[in-house]
């Protein structure tokens, strides 16, 4: 309105100069007013997306609209929308008659806790959120901008799939997004939140991003839906079973977490965002911290059971170690024998990786190796120090693991740790056996500080296994030999005397030690040899 009145005034001032100009001036005024009105009208229309009826339908499904989601996700008043006036260009099937300003996606930038984020939010009320050429262009635009300045990208996915009316244009759009995802990978963090259907080619954009989250009961991810599955393989399966949140967070490992509903999901993404650096050239964020960095944690002194075969929950260790027990766990329901996630130590974001003896004795198997490897690589890519808590009896033996390629998959975690140049601090809480000892951020893989708790046992294997090999011909004295082996190897000394652990520390002092080390390691510079890229065993 301010702008309008200014134009109007200048037009009025020009009147007396030349009466001849009056007619043109009048039409110019009208034109200006008309344009302004059109802008307002279009804006209003854009804000309504596919219209009130479709918005109501969206709400009825228990889902929020694209704009409502953005409103909850970002700091109040910080959203700057891009391309609100963009329209699709399709003319087939009468599409030219049905256009919505902004088309089926809302894009722009905003702030979360005062830091810049680029985001897109697919609008299911416009053509079912389907991906048109302009939809893809809008997304690619903000992704490029995000890379230019170094800020994360959050995608809120709620789309029926390709805009079939646009044909191959839509496919090109997907590919453009994929290419942008790949270019942005390792440059800025990318988060996908699946808040509705996401099927076919569309699934690969989230799959390329760093983190994929889902909303329970309202989101689905699959290559082909139940109908096609039925037609091709005669398998009867529901949407939920095929690609619901449970499937992907528990069974497939495609999603990194699931939330109760839209509101819960968006609140949680805000929390995650606050842990992340903005780009690969930014330091791991340090936030004001209420928790004393030198807090003694008495409960850690008794967390490892006296019985060396008894299970305990590594999450207990994590929660008491980190600032305020705040831990954003990644993939909490998948491969539970390894715990990964973000936490803070004295305000600084760290990545936590821990074997969890509570599940499958904390062994490394195919799934846990992959889960751990991907997380370690994220941390390394974005300068997040890695704290590794080791209690691992080894790699899981058996045909299913060997046939599944545990060698290849286990190598991923090994590769990830060996490649990582960020600060690496390792605490061996109990078992560190065999090859798995090497893998878990050992000193030999350039661990910066490697500690053992008094309960640590660093050895090639457990006593029973070792004795059955070493003394296979002396089974009668197995017990005696086991005792001897335990005495020799089931303690931190063999590793400590060789310098494979830097110190044996009191568990309750662990927090203090790690906080000191992180401070010291802030100036760590370590570079891998120049290469085009490594060849991780995929």
């Amino acid at each position: 309105i301010k702008m309008l009145s200014r134009y109007a005034r200048s037009a009025l001032f020009s009147l007396p100069k030349s009466m001849q100009m009056a007619t043109r001036a009048t039409s110019s005024i009208q034109h200006t007013l008309k344009v302004a009105e059109k802008i307002e009208k279009t804006r209003e229309k854009a804000l309504l997306g596919g219209g009130q009826k479709r918005i109501d339908a969206q709400h009825k499904r228990g889902k929020l609209t694209a704009r409502e989601r953005i409103e909850l996700l970002v700091d109040p008043g910080s959203f700057r929308e891009y391309d609100m006036f963009a329209e699709h260009t399709c003319t087939d099937f009468g599409m030219q008659k049905e256009k919505y300003p902004g088309d089926s996606v809302v894009t722009g930038r905003a702030q979360i806790a005062g830091r810049t984020v680029f985001l897109f939010s697919q609008d299911f009320t416009v053509f079912g959120g389907s991906l048109s050429s302009i939809h893809a262009k809008k997304i690619v635009k903000i992704m490029k901008d995000a890379m230019l300045v170094g800020a994360p990208v959050i995608g809120l996915n709620d789309s029926g799939g390709a805009r079939i009316q646009e044909g191959v244009e839509s496919l090109a759009g997907y590919a453009d997004i994929f290419q942008a995802n790949v270019m942005a990978s390792g440059v800025v963090p990318q988060i996908s939140l699946i808040m509705g259907p996401c099927a076919g080619g569309a699934v690969y954009s989230p799959a390329l991003t760093d983190f994929t989250f889902m909303v329970r009961d309202t989101s689905y991810l699959f290559i082909t839906g139940p109908d096609v599955v039925k037609a091709v393989t005669n398998e009867e399966v529901t949407q939920e079973e095929l690609g619901g949140a449970k499937t992907h967070t528990v069974t497939s490992g495609v999603a990194h977490g699931a939330f109760e509903n839209d509101v819960d999901a968006l609140m949680n993404i805000r929390e995650l965002f606050n842990y992340l650096p903005l780009s690969n050239t930014d330091a791991s964020p340090i936030r004001a911290c209420d928790d004393p960095w030198d807090r003694v944690v008495p409960s850690l002194d008794t967390v490892v059971p006296l019985e060396s075969t008894a299970a305990y929950n590594m999450k207990d260790v994590v929660l008491s170690l980190v600032d305020e027990g705040d831990f954003f766990e990644i993939m909490p329901d998948y491969a539970k024998n390894i715990v990964v996630g973000f936490a803070r130590m004295n305000g600084r974001t760290v990545g936590i990786v821990g074997n969890n003896p509570k599940f499958a004795a904390g062994c490394l198997d195919i799934n846990s190796s992959i889960k751990g490897a991907r997380f370690v690589r994220f941390c390394d890519a974005f300068n997040v120090p890695i704290i590794t808590l080791v209690d691992v009896p080894g790699f899981l033996p058996g045909t299913s693991q060997e046939y599944g390629g545990i060698i290849r998959h286990g190598a991923k975690l090994l590769y990830a740790y060996a490649e990582a140049t960020v600060p690496k601090i390792t605490v061996i809480t109990r078992k560190a056996f065999g090859g798995a000892y090497d893998v878990m951020a050992s000193k030999h893989l350039r661990g910066d500080l490697n500690y053992a708790w008094p309960t640590a046992e660093v050895a090639v294997m457990g006593a029973k296994g070792a004795v059955s090999i070493l003394f296979r011909n002396d089974k009668d004295n197995a017990a005696k030999h086991e005792e001897e082996y335990t005495e020799l190897f089931s303690n931190p000394f063999p590793a400590a005397v060789r310098g494979f652990v830097d110190d044996i520390i009191v568990p309750s002092e662990t927090r203090r030690r790690i906080c000191e080390d992180l401070n010291m390691l802030e100036s760590k510079t370590l570079k891998n040899p120049a290469k085009k890229h490594g060849n991780i065993p995929l």
């Binding site: 709400h59 005062g114 609140m267 903005l278 936030r287 003694v296 409960s299 002194d301 967390v303």
Partner: protein
């Protein structure tokens, strides 16, 4: 390895940066024993008096610690016994020596007379203090000790035998002219006899183990069916708890108070009564809150009860500390219930009001000393309460055991007049093997209101994380009007909470206060999330977060659709993060104080009035705070969410009538059905045992058993599926 570990752990307790690993076992154990003995003003320790050199404590947990503390204060060396899982327990650390007597199950460790006798011999202990439970009322144990010339710190074995057997004790009590309840004079052989006797006396009746105590092996029956079920359950419980399953039946006095008299006797025929304790606040016959003295007892009644108690003690030649329990009806008639020939759980409240260290007196008289006091010298000073803080879920039947690790644990010792008797510390495990008692929280004040106010403060300042605990219930009772007026009976809980305990019920003002507090803390959380120290991008557009206005929508309770969402505005006064002004429902509440989000206890002020709270959880969009002992999950969302949360769909609930889930962690005692069986609604399907209590689990509907996922002896977690119906 364990020894090395133990040293390491002691070293850690010194808590400073320079801690080194202890390499030599000669390093002195560091335990702070500077107990405040200031409360023991009556007959304090006489260091010139002869005493035992060394005693063994045949118990675990808080009572073992309690006995060790007095023994050490007297200069007596102590020996702890423990099961293997207890190797790192507090009582083991406090003692000068420790002996492992077996694996976790009590029947293989703490109840093993042979192993404990061996430990006595090996360590050369001159006396054994049995604490309560376990071997404390085991006559064989006391007699065996006598045989090897070791003192049993408790009454002589004959007195235990006479009083420990409830049938016999009644006869003796009646002969000693103690007031009696009508009942059957003898042991009940089987269910049929139980039903017959019950009918003779007239329902309701109390079925209880002859050897019982502490509510175990005890059931009330109102009809024949309950009599049968109660008989068999109690008998089994008695067997596993006391190794003695003889049963008794007597008239159950409805609506009574439970008041007991502490007595103290020596071997020279001297006996004292140390005033009464009221233990009427009970659930399932287990005490919840005790107080001394009782607000119901008049001085005349006190004297009468005390004198009868002492008559009984004399009649059996009693020579230690003991307790005579009475049921008291509304007309102040009191009836003999039983005599407990041991140190009672709730002895600290008597200590508080008399200034007498009962453990010290037990050790003295056991050694052979005379009591130094006369009855006139026993004071009654002030008022004391004891809250039994248990690891149990008060929302289920006023308390179902829970287990877990105390991930955070801070006792409210800083409050004046407060004493915490506990045997655990941060990091301790509450396991299914033992009693789920966390702590006996005792408050003492000049009068009942002051002691009660201190108890409330202590409960507010108590931090327990990692296990479900009953503080919400304890705190609510301390607030409740009837309790405050002293109008209590053993039926208090079911009468005050007819629907079961459901947490503190808040009025509108209190609700607003909780909402305001949660909103202020959430504002602080959000403001802090903007306080990055190394993110330099928005330098010129940076706004001090404490200068902003935070607009939220807050809802209580957190379940969508249940509560009413209200708009809340939070502003920090002049950017001061300690002064928040919260506007909601048309009023402004000032929340001030250090809103430190890492501290377990937060001392705030709401409009200037003290408000102690704890942040139990701060998930995204949800702050869980403690108010009046109860956890309140408050949803705090950005203001626009007020419209949006309406669209969120409630999640479908699992139909619980067709499944039987384990209500608590425990061991399966028996499984009564197999797949394919038809069961009727209410039929008992499974008996689960946890913390020595047996609980029957019943079918939620009539139907066919689809699956049984557990078998006898198996241990199960809370919420585990046990039986599924079609």
């Amino acid at each position: 390895r364990m020894r090395v570990l133990a040293c390491v752990r002691f070293a850690a307790h010194k808590g400073l940066g320079q801690v080194r690993l202890a390499s030599s076992s000669s390093q002195k154990k560091y335990v702070d024993l500077r107990e405040d003995r200031g409360i023991y003003t009556t007959d304090p320790i006489n260091y010139n008096e002869a005493k035992f050199d060394k005693i063994l404590i045949a118990n675990r947990g808080e009572i073992a610690c309690r006995v060790i503390k007095t023994a050490r204060a007297m200069g007596i060396k102590t020996v702890a016994v423990h099961s293997d899982v207890d190797s790192n327990s507090l009582h083991v650390r406090l003692a000068d020596e420790a002996v492992c007597v077996g694996p976790a199950p009590t029947s293989q460790s703490y109840l093993r007379v042979d192993k404990i006798l061996q430990a006595v011999k090996d360590t050369g202990a001159q006396a054994v203090h049995p604490g309560y439970g376990f071997l404390s009322e085991n006559t064989h144990f006391a007699a065996d000790l006598e045989k090897i010339g070791v003192k049993f710190v408790g009454p002589n074995s004959k007195a235990i035998l006479d009083m420990g057997d409830k049938i016999n004790s009644k006869k003796i009590a009646a002969a000693a002219k103690v007031n009696m309840i009508p009942g059957f004079d003898g042991e009940i052989a089987d269910e049929d006899m139980c039903v017959k006797v019950a009918n003779d006396i007239g329902y309701p009746v109390m079925i209880k183990a002859s050897a019982g105590g502490g509510g175990k092996g005890m059931r009330i029956a109102w009809n024949d069916k309950e009599a049968r079920e109660g008989y068999s359950l109690s008998k089994q419980e008695a067997k596993s708890s006391f190794g003695d399953d003889r049963m008794l039946v007597e008239k159950f006095i409805d609506n009574p108070r439970h008041i007991e008299m502490q007595v103290l006797c020596d071997k020279h025929g001297n006996s004292l009564w140390l005033n009464e304790r009221e233990c009427s606040i009970q659930r399932r016959n287990q005490k919840v809150i005790e107080e001394a003295p009782s607000s119901f007892v008049t001085p005349e009644m006190r004297r009468a009860m005390g004198e009868q108690s002492v008559q009984l003690a004399r009649a059996v030649g009693y020579d230690s500390a003991g307790t005579v329990e009475f049921l008291v009806d509304g007309k102040r008639n009191f009836y003999f219930l039983e005599m407990n020939t041991r140190l009672q759980v709730e002895h600290p409240i008597t200590e508080s009001i008399t200034g007498i260290d009962i453990v010290q007196q037990m050790l003295r008289v056991s050694y052979g000393h005379k009591l130094n006091l006369t009855q006139e010298q026993v004071p009654l000073q002030g008022w004391a309460f004891e809250s039994r803080v248990y690891a149990e879920d008060p929302y289920k039947g006023f308390g179902l055991p829970s287990v877990g690790r105390l991930s955070r644990y801070v006792e409210p010792n800083h409050i004046e007049g407060v004493r915490c008797d506990s045997g655990i510390r941060e990091g301790s495990e509450i396991s299914i093997y033992y009693d789920p008692l966390i702590c006996k929280l005792v408050s003492h004040g000049k009068d009942r209101p002051q002691a009660l106010a201190r108890m409330r403060d202590a409960l507010d300042g108590y931090v327990i994380r990692g296990v479900t605990h009953n503080i919400p219930l304890l705190r609510d009772i301390c607030q409740e009007q009837r309790f405050n007026e002293g109008r209590i009976t053993t039926k208090y809980l079911p009468e005050v909470y007819p629907e079961g305990f459901m947490g503190a019920q808040l009025n509108v003002d209190e609700q607003d206060k909780v909402l305001a507090m949660a909103a202020a803390l959430n504002a602080r959380k959000i403001a802090r999330s903007k306080q990055f120290k190394n993110q330099k991008r928005q330098r010129t557009t940076y706004v001090d977060p404490y200068q902003m206005t935070f607009k939220f929508v807050a809802e209580l309770p957190a379940e969508e659709g249940q509560g009413k969402a209200v708009a809340v505005e939070v502003k920090f006064d002049k950017g001061d993060d300690k002064e928040a002004r919260v506007t909601l429902n048309g009023k402004t509440i000032a929340i001030s104080g250090d809103m430190n989000l890492a501290q377990p206890i937060i001392d705030l002020k709401a409009d200037g009035k003290a408000l102690t709270t704890q942040i139990v959880g701060k998930k995204a969009g949800e702050i869980t705070v403690v108010y009046k002992g109860t956890n309140f999950k408050v949803k705090v969302l950005p203001e626009h969410a007020i419209e949006y949360i309406k669209h969120m769909k409630p999640k479908a609930k699992v139909d619980l009538s067709s499944v039987v889930l384990s209500p608590m962690p425990g061991a399966i005692k028996s499984v009564a059905v197999k797949v394919g069986d038809m069961v009727s609604e209410g039929q008992q399907l499974i008996v689960i045992e946890a913390m020595k209590m047996q609980n029957g689990l019943h079918a939620g509907k009539t139907g066919k058993v689809k699956s049984v996922t557990v078998k006898e002896g198996q241990t199960v977690d809370e919420g585990e599926l046990l039986v599924e119906l079609e």
